[in-house]
Amino acid sequence: MISEQDRERIHDYLDGRLAPAQAEAFQRRLASDVELATEVATMERLVSQLTTLREERAPPGFSRDVIARLKTTPRAGPRLPRWLVLALPAAAAILFAAIFAHRMPRPETLVAQDVSRQVPPAARAETSIEKSAATAVEAPDSPAEGSAAGGVAPADDDLAAGPDREAGVNRGEVAEADGASGDDRAGAVAPASNRTAADDRTALEAKGRATLPPPTLVWRVRRAPVAEGAVRPTSGKSDTAAADDRFVPTGDGEIPRELLDAIAAIRTESPGRVVERELDAAGRATFLAQAARDGFVVLQLEGASGAQYKDGSAAEQRKLDDLADLDARGTWRELAHDARPGGGGGGGIDAAKPEGPMRVGTAKSREGAPGPQNPATPGAAPAAGQGAPSVGGGSAAGEKKDKLKPMARGEPGLAKDAAVRILIVYEDDIPPK
């Protein structure tokens, strides 16, 4: 049996990263340890085979085509002074705010307007995604603009790009994927301090009846494969057996089966409307740190038609604002707005209703949340006990069940035009506070 340490050493040895003395000692071991020597030989052969892939060449005429494209593409004009580059967006924001403030109606009206937006064609969503991706590349992609590892980057760039730098696409793509989101949120969600719970309730109810806009995005936080049973829904031990069927192991962890089914359905009905993105490690770490600090999201699943909302309390709104805050930091926009995840726990996927196969809208408080770091709390309402798989509901789920707005009969759970934004953060990933 080769130990983990020896495995590490094998790679260091093959890459010539062992100190001379260590290398000699390792070679001596190879002479006497057949298993280790075999493993080294196998790995050496694998590495050497990989070098044969280096022979692939660019297609003929590649450089000619590049130059041709360069000549047909107008070169960017002279760069604006940096102070002007910084000042222009600020000026635009001030101008926009002034105009917006002037025209802003009452909050509940705003919400109704917001959520009654018609769903643009799917193609529009895709276009905007592509566009935003391209836009995202322009500024931050150039290593000259910033390289955390290489020390090439100016500090401000690193700060601005932060964890998204590696993934590149995350921040920029999301930033424009739903171009109206930020603005709408500014209008739709007035500062919590200015609103009452009744206002919140009105707003959320209005949203619950409305169709949410695309784009349909699925974000998945990457994780290493986990042991069976490591990720579990809201329920306690009694739910373990039932949970097995409800979760599908994937290369990245376990995913609720219903979620996959729902995504598959959307794919079938509206090809191209579901876009998957993975957070890179850095983006994930930042998000998890944020989640740990705020102690809320374990699993959030947002949906459109049939989204159910909680009681619209100030506490819930605070959670929503927290989500919006994530967005404002450029970390996580898709969490922000439309589907209004409930804050204090509960919610989740409810497949029990045939007319509404997927009722969504959940975020849960860390307090009392069952999971590896916080075992199932007595009183947490097992979704299975309700006959409905529920994901992401917290310990407060049982308490709040009666407060959830039931989905109207006949309302599709995830309609063709549904906007789906999904974030899964596994509980065992969230570091302790």
């Binding site: 694998l46 920029g172 998957e276 993975e278």
Partner: protein, 216 residues
């Protein structure tokens, strides 16, 4: 390091970059020619896309590089900067995910070992090697290519840059914008993952291709 080196009679990267900044297309063309194979391979291997899409993305990489030259301060080597752009282009394209469920075995006729420096080298010409060797090489490459596509993205990027392109950990760290320790970890774990995948695929392959027990 196995990055392309400039020919003795050609100006080095810094000179070409400076000239390219002034709009000298000929100078940039030399840079493109110098690094086109590298960028093409890296883009393709990192993103699991077909050759045509990889070509498009590789071209896009050079276009972005050209447009971004005014911001290139020379803090790192041009080629590292270029590969960083390529890496970001791959990520921004989202190609990794979009092809996740449509993995295909790459065409097996695109490569041949041992003729890297031969200007007349035609990757589709396998007549100069023994038929059995050519077949074996192609089969093994097919397995490796497929195995690479099945690796997690992070691991694959690190393994491709290290083991396919022969870059040092520090260079890879620059390109991927992660610490060297992370690079090391990804390479180690990536190789282990690759070995497992290859072994699994090899179980369906002829014995002479298998990793264990010698072979090619």
């Amino acid at each position: 390091m196995a990055l392309p080196q400039e020919a003795p009679q050609e100006p080095d990267d810094d000179v070409l970059v400076a000239r390219s900044r002034q709009g000298d297309m000929d100078a940039f063309s030399v840079l493109v020619t110098r690094y086109q194979d590298l960028v093409f391979r890296v883009v393709r291997r990192m993103s699991r896309i077909d050759a045509a899409t990889a070509e498009d993305l590789a071209q896009e990489t050079f276009l972005r590089a050209f447009r971004g030259l005014p911001q290139f301060r020379g803090d790192c080597r041009f080629v590292h900067w270029l590969l960083r752009i390529a890496h970001n282009a791959v990520i921004n394209r989202g190609t990794s995910m979009s092809t996740r469920f449509s993995r295909q075995v790459r065409s097996l006729d695109a490569s041949r070992p041992g003729r890297e420096d031969d200007a007349s080298y035609d990757p589709r010409d396998v007549s100069a090697v023994a038929p059995s060797d050519a077949l074996e090489n192609l089969e093994m490459k097919g397995v490796l290519e497929r195995a690479l596509t099945e690796m997690p993205d992070d691991f694959r990027s690190a393994v491709v840059l290290c083991d396919v392109e022969g870059l040092e950990y520090e260079e890879i760290a620059l390109i991927l914008a992660v610490p060297v320790g992370t690079v090391r970890s990804r390479i180690h774990r990536g190789r282990e993952a690759l070995k497992e995948i290859v072994t699994r695929l090899m179980n369906r392959a002829p014995v002479h291709l298998r990793l264990e027990g010698g072979g090619a």
